[in-house]
Amino acid sequence: MKLIQLKEKYEEIRKVVVDSTVWKSIFRHGYKDTPRNRVLMTASNVFLHLHPSKMRRHGIKISYTWCAGGLTFLFFLILTVTGVILMFYYRPVAEYAFVDMKYLQFDVPFGMIMRNMHRWAAHGMVILVMLHMFRVFLTGSYKPPREFNWIVGVILLVLTFLLSFTGYLLPWDQLAIWAVTVGTNMARATPLMGHEGPLAEQMRELTGLITPRYDARSLLTGGTIVAAPTLLRFYVLHCIFIPIATAVLIIVHFWRVRKDGGISGPL
């Protein structure tokens, strides 16, 4: 007897809530398992509507996609969240950077786990991007009409490398500065634009530039060695410039997948 009363009461409250203006303004439809509702679930959700509402059985097989592209995006999101949290504690100044890493390691609650997650997810993202690209190649998914999206993908691969590489410097330990020294030293050998590259002398005579202080490497490092100016440059690139460029291109990439007829499948 009481149970039925309770049930009635519940139904009453549920109706009031679900029929309220507020509820209806947030949730456009119910949870009924009908074909129409299944379509609505995808189409009326801002995050899910990246997907088509119906897709071929072939496309949802893990053995086909390896989930590599989607997981790359998930890892990008993990990196964004953990990265922003790390920004609360880290100062991109040569005097403080290493100390702040130690602060994260020993003092900040869950600081070390945040840093670990950021570091390992970055490695994971690099691996996943390469796997995704390999899968896309093996399934011929870059073929018409998807040629341009392959190019966007190649740029995203480069941006992923650059994100990882600029982040490598930020701990400001021996591993960081020497790895980045190896990387940026190559730039001084750039043809025409590096002071040790081919035709550098000729360019120097011609323009008066292309000295160790003004060449392709100093553009990256902000000086003749990896030092305080490099740290700031890499920090800004790592936290602002490249993430924004990456996010924009990810949107283009996903948009194109939809516009080019969804993920590839046998014709």
Binding site: R38, M41, T42, H51, S53, M55, R57, H58, I60, C67, G70, L74, F75, A94, F98, M101, M112, I113, R115, N116, M117, R119, W120, V126, F137, L138, T139, G140, Y142, K143, R146, E147, V154, L157, Y168, P171, D173, Q174, L175, A179, T181, V182, N185, M186, A187, R188, A189, T190, P191, G194, G197, P198, L199, A200, E201, I225, A227, G265, P266, L267
Partner: protein, 264 residues
């Protein structure tokens, strides 16, 4: 015929192989995402990210290694000058990757795994990715020690390991073995070396002229697409060729242009 049929058949039975994204795909995405999140979290709790002593610009470690994903490029520095291994080749890799969809006009093999229908494409990409990229990264991470010498992973990094290597340029190598002293002349070696590299790329042209009449694939490809493909392919193959020359004959450069600081 197929087009007409699509218009008549009701939408529900249009593609029997279609499923609703929600829940079929969303469910899979959710589960795979959840498992990945758990894995990365547990991994991060158990294994600490690397951290060395504070940066010290006066103490250079030996070896200085780039981040692991660039070690394939760093490995190329052994065989080429930095302007080529560090700047030109990476740029060519990126441009070459972007060109793939425009050079590969084989219509077969979309949306499924196949080797037989795309033998050339899959072999070349597989070689480039698995051998020249992944394998060189593995070498760089696990087998390179002080002085960028080879060390087995279980070997001590003995900094005194001396590798007596006298790398010599190709013209000197030939002058020694063939006794042609003229090759020691700077200008002669430059002309000779340029000719050799020219001849190497000429292989592509000769192959085209030789095969084009009998090969419908080459005809469809056309001279421009073929030229780009051949150039990129031969450039890629120059790396293993130069590696073998270095390992077997200690040959450093094929040609040098000392006036402009260019060595190949």
């Amino acid at each position: 015929m197929a087009e007409e049929q699509k218009k008549i058949v009701p939408a529900s039975s249009l593609s029997p192989d279609k499923v609703h994204t929600w829940p079929h795909l969303v469910k899979a995405e959710f589960i795979v995402g959840l498992i990945s999140l758990i894995l990365i979290t547990v991994w991060s709790i158990v294994i600490d990210a690397p951290m060395e002593e504070p940066a010290n610009p006066t103490r250079t470690p030996n070896p200085s290694k780039a981040p692991w994903y660039f070690l394939g490029l760093q490995e190329m520095l052994v065989y080429f000058d930095p302007w080529y291994a560090g700047v030109v080749l990476p740029s060519l890799i990126i441009v070459g990757l972007m060109l793939i969809p425009y050079l590969d006009i084989n219509k077969k093999g979309v949306g499924y795994y196949t080797f037989t229908e795309r033998k050339f494409a899959v072999s070349v990409f597989g070689f480039g990715f698995l051998i020249l990229w992944v394998f060189l990264i593995i070498i760089g991470v696990f087998f390179r020690g002080p002085g960028w010498n080879f060390f087995m992973p279980w070997q001590d990094w003995d900094t005194h390991k001396v590798v007596a290597l006298t790398n010599i340029d190709l013209n000197i190598f030939l002058a020694q073995h063939l006794g042609i002293d003229l090759l020691r002349n700077t200008v002669v070696q430059a002309v000779f070396g340029t000719g050799l590299i020219g001849a190497y790329y000429l292989i592509g042209v000769v192959f085209y002229l030789w095969k084009v009449k009998k090969s419908p694939v080459l005809q469809e490809l056309g001279p421009i697409r073929y030229g780009l493909t051949a150039f990129l392919f031969l450039t890629m193959m120059a790396l293993p060729i130069k590696m073998i020359l270095r390992w077997t004959f200690n040959i450093k450069y094929i040609v040098t242009y000392p006036w402009i600081g260019l060595n190949i």
